[in-house]
């Protein structure tokens, strides 16, 4: 199957990717490596904070989301990465044993003015738990190669 191009992404489209079980072991391992604050390493330390118990580093939740969408559709697209992330909101703690998935909403597509071979696909990504509670939201413009450089969509 050929990989998706920018023209294949339509505003308003909603898709779900995952699920994936997040274990205590990986939460603690990520925190030990990249964000060794006690609230991400230890139940009692987490309970003493606003998190109210052991919870994943916010960066870990972003990385889990990234992995799910890479496997879910980015690696099946002509992706050139992303220039950045408009906003991340860490709304609820990500707890050990949560089965997460990602709801992806295409907000907007636009051709690049400076680079006729690419277009931007602005996405809202929401990391959901089993009850579809939104744990984090992340908004980012992906850069995707166009099928026909410079052609009108």
């Amino acid at each position: 199957m050929s990989k998706r191009h920018w023209e294949d992404f339509k505003p308003g489209t909603v898709a779900f990717y995952g699920p994936r079980l997040v274990t205590r072991e990986e939460i603690v391992a990520f925190a030990a490596e990249f964000d060794p604050q006690p609230m991400h390493l230890d139940e009692a330390a987490g309970a003493a904070t606003l998190l109210g118990g052991l919870a994943a580093s916010g960066w870990h939740s972003c990385c889990i989301l990234m992995r799910i969408i890479a496997d879910g559709f980015i690696n099946d697209s002509n992706s050139l990465g992303a220039p950045g992330v408009d906003e991340v909101r860490w709304l609820k703690p990500l707890r050990p044993g949560t089965r997460v998935r990602v709801r992806t909403t295409i907000l907007e597509t636009r051709a690049s003015n400076s680079r006729p071979e690419i277009g931007f696909v602005k996405c809202l990504f929401e990391l959901l738990d089993e009850q579809d509670t939104v744990l984090i939201t992340l908004t980012s413009p992906l850069m995707i190669r166009r099928r026909e450089a410079g052609a009108r969509p």
């Binding site: 490596e33 990249f34 964000d35 060794p36 604050q37 609230m39 904070t49 606003l50 998190l51 919870a55 580093s57 916010g58 960066w59 972003c62 990385c63 889990i64 990234m66 992995r67 890479a70 496997d71 980015i74 690696n75 992706s79 050139l80 990465g81 992303a82 220039p83 950045g84 992330v85 408009d86 906003e87 991340v88 909101r89 860490w90 703690p93």
Partner: protein, 160 residues
């Protein structure tokens, strides 16, 4: 770490410096961002990057690791002086995260954070909100990453 009331807009923290090795770039991306140009040299050479480039998330989490270490040093120094150490975190979110230039193998990135806003939390008046702009600059002086993040900080207890 000082209390929220002691933090002044404009103050800067030298967060630290990190060199990104090929093994580390591929190891991180294999786990969290397995796009071909982050995990495979040959695929990266065929891509718009031209050679292996670190995941943008990798460059962000390295800031976090260095920042936690820096805060720990500051807290230990404060305890050594007999000063209290205010609690920090969790963070609420971030915005305007920009990956401005690729980070290639053996690039060294120097991170700095600057306080750009302090305000009392409306939902939790016992806590302050600290907003910081963080940047990373490579060994050629080019800005490679920039973002703004907001985190809770403990306020000075009223009776002290």
């Amino acid at each position: 770490m000082r209390y929220f009331e002691d933090i002044v807009v404009g103050e800067r923290t030298a967060v630290g410096r990190h060199t990104f090795t090929a093994d580390e770039i591929k190891g991180f991306a294999t786990r969290f961002d397995p796009q071909p140009f982050h995990v495979d040299e040959a695929a990266a050479e065929r891509s718009h990057f031209g050679r292996l480039a670190a995941s943008g998330w990798h460059s962000a989490v390295v800031w976090m690791r260095l920042m936690v270490a820096e805060r720990r040093r500051q807290a230990e120094a404060a305890r050594g002086r007999g000063e209290p150490v205010a609690a920090m975190g969790p963070a609420l979110g971030l915005r305007d995260l920009k990956w401005l230039k690729p980070i290639y193998v053996d690039d060294s990135v120097t991170y700095e954070s600057e306080v750009i806003e302090t305000r009392v939390s409306e939902s939790r008046p016992d806590l302050g909100l600290l907003t910081v702009r963080s940047t990373g600059v490579n060994q050629r002086g080019e800005l490679v990453i920039s973002f703004i993040s907001t985190t809770f900080v403990e306020r000075r207890p009223v009776n002290k």
